[in-house]
Amino acid sequence: MKIVTIFDDHLFTIHYQNEIENEFDRLLELWTDVSFLIAYAKKNDQKNILGFVNKILMDVEQIQDFLENLNQNNHPFGFYFEPLQNSEQVKLLAFQKGKIRQNQLRFYAIKIDENCFLITGGAIKMSRKMIEHSDTLNELKKLIKVRTYLQTNGVFDNASFYELIIE
């Protein structure tokens, strides 16, 4: 695997050996591919296929705008990422309050420091917990694999997992 730079010093992503593109580019391509989205909606038993596809296409545009405006914002990158476990707990609370997070797309990342993150992948969030859907479970495995790679290369002993949430 290779680590490549999206934003100097702040945002990096992985380019896995078996993939043509790095994870960030691969996901933005995938989430804007209508034939993929329709197949995904069917596979995940979505009753309103048209509604699902249009919602994801809108969510991707939100990510595109977020990325475009990122260097104009003054927040450290840590502002946009939430610790994985906490966010799942928050989501439960939010769900109970009727405030489900709107954007269904997630990038998963390892925190290097407050202002520096390494994106390991992403998924369409279909379940509350990552282990409840095969896609997010796979993303969890990728996070662990990359953490092991970083540990093996002496970057750190321990690292926590984060997700990028855009609202």
Binding site: T32, S35, L50, L57, Q64, L67, D113, L118, N153
Partner: protein, 109 residues
């Protein structure tokens, strides 16, 4: 050495064009939205007809790869392609679809 410095020692020198590609997508957003909506109509109609993408390729006399591009919703489709899709699948893509219907309605009335 900080954690970030250790990470940066591992980072590839390869330059990626993620930000440029993102700018292009935003600049072409209106076109892409239209292309996406056409792709949705095409795929849902294929389902309704029970056609595979290769059936559409045959009807349109194009390669299956061309259909793959159309249904990805990322292509800047030519008017010729749009007319073919509209006529073969009987789906509304261009204003002419409605204009034809209106004209026929007027004739009936």
């Amino acid at each position: 050495m900080t954690t970030k410095e250790k990470l940066k020692a591992l980072v590839s020198k390869e330059k990626i064009d993620t930000l440029k590609k993102n700018k292009d997508r935003i600049r072409n957003r209106e076109m892409l939205r239209e292309s996406q909506q056409i792709a949705i109509k095409v795929l849902l109609k294929l389902d309704e007809l029970g056609w595979a993408q290769k059936d559409l390729a045959k009807e349109m006399q194009v390669s299956p790869q061309q259909i793959t591009k159309i249904v990805s919703g990322k292509e800047n489709l030519t008017i010729e392609t749009q007319v073919k899709l509209q006529n073969i699948l009987k789906i509304p893509i261009l204003a002419s679809y409605y204009e034809y219907k209106m004209t026929n309605k007027e004739k009936v009335l």
